[in-house]
């Protein structure tokens, strides 16, 4: 039991390690936390399903440093993001913006939900008065008694 609790505690304490090295960090904690937030939303273009905050790839490190440099230059979060997007395209945003070609991605699930809901409603309405309303026949009642 104790061992299990220790394991559970260990697993709870384990958090995913970020790739940010101490020498990359900014001195100002507020700026550093902004850099971390931006980095978590930027895709590493080498190892495409990781953010640059998670990735150990050299190019991800360069991009982390670039994000921090732009922040120290006084750029806003949006300006920093635009700076990277101008070079690598919307693909680097892990959360793609709502645009013409991403509309299906954003609206698709809701459209399917609504269409499905309409389908279920129509099906419910067209179903003849349900069998639950008609009382059991004597034969059915006898069978039920026998079973219970």
């Amino acid at each position: 039991m104790l061992r299990l609790a220790a394991l559970a505690a260990g697993l709870l304490l384990a958090t995913p390690a970020a790739a940010v090295m101490p020498d990359e960090m900014l001195a100002d904690p507020a700026q550093e936390s902004r850099a971390r937030t931006i980095s978590k939303d930027l895709r590493c273009v080498v190892c495409q399903n990781q953010s640059i905050d998670d990735s150990d790839a050299p190019l991800a490190k360069d991009l982390r440093l670039l994000v921090r440099e732009q922040i120290t230059l006084g750029k806003t979060d949006a300006q920093v993001r635009d700076y990277v997007v101008a070079r690598y395209g919307n693909f680097v945003l892990l959360k793609p913006p709502v645009e013409g070609d991403t509309l299906l991605l954003w609206v698709g699930p809701f459209a399917v939900l609504i269409l499905g809901g309409i389908g279920v409603l129509l099906w419910q309405r067209r179903r003849p008065a349900s069998a639950a309303d008609t009382p059991l026949s004597d034969v059915e009642r006898a069978e039920l008694d026998r079973l219970s």
């Binding site: 080498v46 495409q48 050299p58 190019l59 360069d62 991009l63 670039l66 395209g89």
Partner: protein, 180 residues
């Protein structure tokens, strides 16, 4: 009408499967370049020579007057030795190839060129990797086709094979030479 209700989900499924199946044939590693038809980003890189500042380097402003290839490579890049003979052939056919040694120590770049030969008309060293980010480079090798006006017209991700050179890039270079 009744039958349609049963057929519709099948049509929907086949449509979705076709759409996703097409997606599987696309290579997600190939990001479309943001630079197509836009001017080459500004850079002024030191050279790789064993001299103060690496000798003559490479500046973006020199990309004018003739179409050129700009090849981003590195001595640590696995596919670069494979691409190298093609670059030598391109240079031998009279098309200028310029290089950027990306995140590579100048002495390593020099050793690579001493071993495999040097097809480059000019070379810049981007050890900090900032110019590569401005170019939207995702890996080495990558090659940009730059026209007479200094605009990027094409980007090759990964090594140029003899087929890609003959089939795509060479015809484009010839077309760019003919442009005013």
């Amino acid at each position: 009408m009744k039958r349609l209700i049963f057929i519709l989900p099948i049509i929907g499924f086949v449509g979705l499967a076709g759409f996703l199946g097409y997606g599987l044939t696309q290579d997600p590693k190939e990001l479309p370049s943001q630079l197509i038809d836009r001017p080459l980003p500004e850079f002024a890189l030191p050279g790789i020579a064993d001299a103060p500042n690496g000798g003559p380097g490479l500046v973006s402003a020199s990309f004018k007057g003739e179409p050129r290839l700009l090849n981003v490579w590195a001595s640590w890049c696995a596919a670069c030795p494979q691409e190298h003979p093609v670059l030598e052939r391109i240079a031998a056919e009279g098309f200028p190839v310029y290089g950027i040694a990306w995140k590579d120590k100048p002495e390593d770049s020099r050793a690579f060129l001493a071993r495999y030969g040097n097809p480059y008309s000019g070379m810049g060293s981007d050890f900090p990797g900032r110019t590569a980010i401005d170019l939207g480079v995702t890996g080495a090798p990558e090659t940009f086709v730059v026209d007479k006006k200094g605009r990027v017209r094409f980007k090759q991700i990964g090594p140029i094979s003899p087929e890609i050179w003959e089939g795509q890039i060479k015809p484009l270079m010839q077309q760019l030479r003919a442009e005013a």
